[in-house]
């Protein structure tokens, strides 16, 4: 099993979610995060105080999937989150050791 973590632009969330649903990914966890890579931040001005803000708002999506689905999932995310501009984000893939469904106690692939 794999844990796929994607950092994407916030307005792309709905598109990515739909793309994942379409290929059978049934559950995701979404977190609002801040971050930066090569995309520049912005400057805020409050009377005399000028602040350069490097951190940009992003959304992190995490999905636990069967290893066989990895290529499909990565392709789905890449296509739906892409704008072609700097700051589109990254996808990280982690090896997922175990999964448990809390309600039933199922483990492994049955719990995904």
């Amino acid at each position: 099993m794999k844990l796929v973590t994607a950092i994407i632009k916030p307005f792309k969330l709905d598109e990515v979610r739909e793309a994942l649903s379409a290929i059978g990914v049934q559950g995701v966890t979404v977190t609002e995060v801040k971050g930066f890579g090569r995309q520049k931040g912005h400057t805020e001005l409050y009377r005399g105080a000028e602040y350069v803000v490097d951190f940009l708002p992003k959304v992190k999506i995490e999905a636990a999937i069967k290893s066989e689905m990895l290529d499909q999932v990565v392709e789905a995310i890449e296509k739906s989150a892409n704008t072609g501009k700097i700051g589109d984000g990254k996808i990280f893939v982690f090896e997922l050791e175990q999964v448990y469904r809390i309600r039933t106690g199922e483990t492994g692939a049955d719990a995904l």
Partner: protein, 475 residues
């Protein structure tokens, strides 16, 4: 503004005394003592409530939105409690020391605990003077109205010392500064014997000598450019120096957590300020109408010039700029409100937006203090600008209403502009020095008793949790 001599003269008003002196034989057509006009009373009660609104919640929200969320409640608390504290002190001794006869610096104790304002045995209210002969107002209304001024002046100072000053130190400071700076300045600028005392030219010198020192000099301050704004603004700057900079100032971001709240606060300040300025006419009359219109227009001008200034010099017009511009205009028109005409309002408002924009940028950098919410740059600078320009635009040649040159005949004229500007400058100078000295001492005393600042970890974690055991937001 004045009130009649203490309760020695039972059931007598100054107006009644004047009519009694003029008509020694009571006739069937003798005029009864005038009672307060209902329209005037309604307006003054409303104005008082409007000025209360300016403190709570307007100023509280304006300031609160500008600080970080971990300190929001501490700001609301400092304003709310300072307001209440000063109101109580006002009713115990403040009103008496400010607005009864004493010497040219401070009044007396005739109205301690407001005694004499209401005779319970007879069900009679004492009268205070307005600016018109034979037009008394309920003294109690005047007490209430002025209480809101004293309270908001003290609350203004908080803006300089937020986010690091101890709550106990705030309260101690306020008691001392209110007593030794606000009260004398209110007395010096605003206390006089009232128009009804001026019955005879022979009495004029003697009556003038009983008024406050700056009133005697002829300083014009309609609603408190000196007494409120310069007074508080300078005290704030002193506080910023004495209390010191916030931890991380200059390195860490300290952006406003809710400019939405700040805008709401600024808008309510504008609304309430109509009570502050137009209510200072003490009647629902032409002077109040002029003050109202000037307050409206000058503020709008200042909003525009501030944001256009920002647009040009900083690149973008901002909501904080618009809100700050409004406050700057309101401050500058405060001494001028009933003392200048429409041309004056245009000029004073427009200049205030630009001058105070500089005040919170260039001047602030020059001064080097962490005046957190720019109390000096807006209130002191705006107040000084307004006070000086009042000296210019009061002149009838520039559309101003002029001033009363003879209270016996109520003759209106104009001082030569440079003469009046010089008088204004002297009053400004006295105010600046007086409040700076008192503020310094008051901060130092609070420091000795409880210490001025919270501990560094408490400051990092936030005053809401550490001083008040509360969090404003649970996210």
């Amino acid at each position: 503004m004045a009130q009649d001599k203490a309760a020695e003269a039972p059931a007598a008003t100054a107006a009644a005394a004047a009519t009694a002196a003029a008509a020694p034989a009571a006739t069937a057509t003798a005029t009864p003592a005038p009672t307060p006009n209902k329209g005037d009373t309604a307006w003054m009660l409303t104005s008082t409530a409007l000025v209360l609104l300016m403190s709570v919640p307007a100023l509280a929200l304006f300031y609160g939105g500008l600080v970080r969320s971990k300190n929001m409640l501490s700001v609301l608390m400092q304003v709310f409690v300072t307001f209440s504290l000063i109101t109580v002190l006002w009713c115990i001794y403040g009103y008496s020391l400010a607005f009864t006869e004493g010497n040219s610096i401070i009044g007396g104790l005739d109205r301690l605990f407001l005694k004499g304002t209401f005779d319970a045995a007879k069900g009679e209210f004492s009268m205070a003077a307005t600016f018109s002969k034979g037009t008394p107002m309920y003294e109690m209304v005047f007490v209430a109205f002025q209480a809101t001024f004293a309270a908001i002046t003290c609350c203004l100072i908080l803006g300089s010392v937020v986010e690091r000053m101890k709550f106990s130190a705030v309260l101690i400071f306020m008691v001392i500064w209110f007593t030794f700076s606000y009260l004398p300045l209110a007395h010096m600028v605003w206390f006089w014997m009232g128009p009804d005392a001026y019955t005879d030219p022979k009495l004029v010198d003697e009556l003038n000598a009983k008024a406050g020192m700056l009133w005697q000099w002829g300083a014009l301050d309609f609603a408190g450019g000196t007494v409120v704004h310069i007074n508080a603004g300078v005290a704030g700057l002193v506080g910023a120096f004495v209390v010191g900079k916030r931890v991380g100032y200059g390195k860490e971001a300290m952006s406003p957590h809710s400019l939405t709240m700040t805008m709401v606060g600024a808008a309510m300040l504008w609304f309430g300020w109509f009570g502050f300025n137009a209510g200072s006419a003490l009647e629902a009359n032409g002077a109040a109408s002029l003050a109202f219109m000037n307050t409206f227009l000058a503020t709008a001008c200042a909003v525009l010039t501030w944001i256009f200034g920002e647009w040009i010099f900083k690149g973008k017009p901002s909501m904080l700029g618009a809100a700050s511009g409004a406050v700057a205009g309101l401050v500058a028109i405060t001494p001028a409100a009933g003392n200048v005409g429409i041309p004056g309002a245009f000029v004073i408002g427009s200049l205030a937006g630009l001058v105070c924009l500089w005040g919170v940028n260039g001047l602030k950098k020059m001064l080097g203090a962490d005046d957190a919410l720019d109390v000096f740059g807006v209130h002191a600078l705006g107040g000084i600008l307004g006070a000086l320009l009042t000296g210019i635009f009061n002149n009838q040649d520039l559309g101003g209403p002029g001033l009363v040159t003879d209270w016996v005949t109520v003759k209106v004229g104009s001082n030569p502009i440079m003469d009046q500007v010089l008088i204004q400058a002297k009053a400004v100078g006295v105010t600046v020095i007086w409040t700076a000295v008192v503020a310094y001492i008051a901060f130092k005393i609070a420091d000795v008793i409880v210490g001025l600042r919270v501990a560094e970890e408490a400051e990092r974690e936030g005053l809401d949790l550490n001083e008040h055991g509360e969090a404003a937001y649970h996210m």
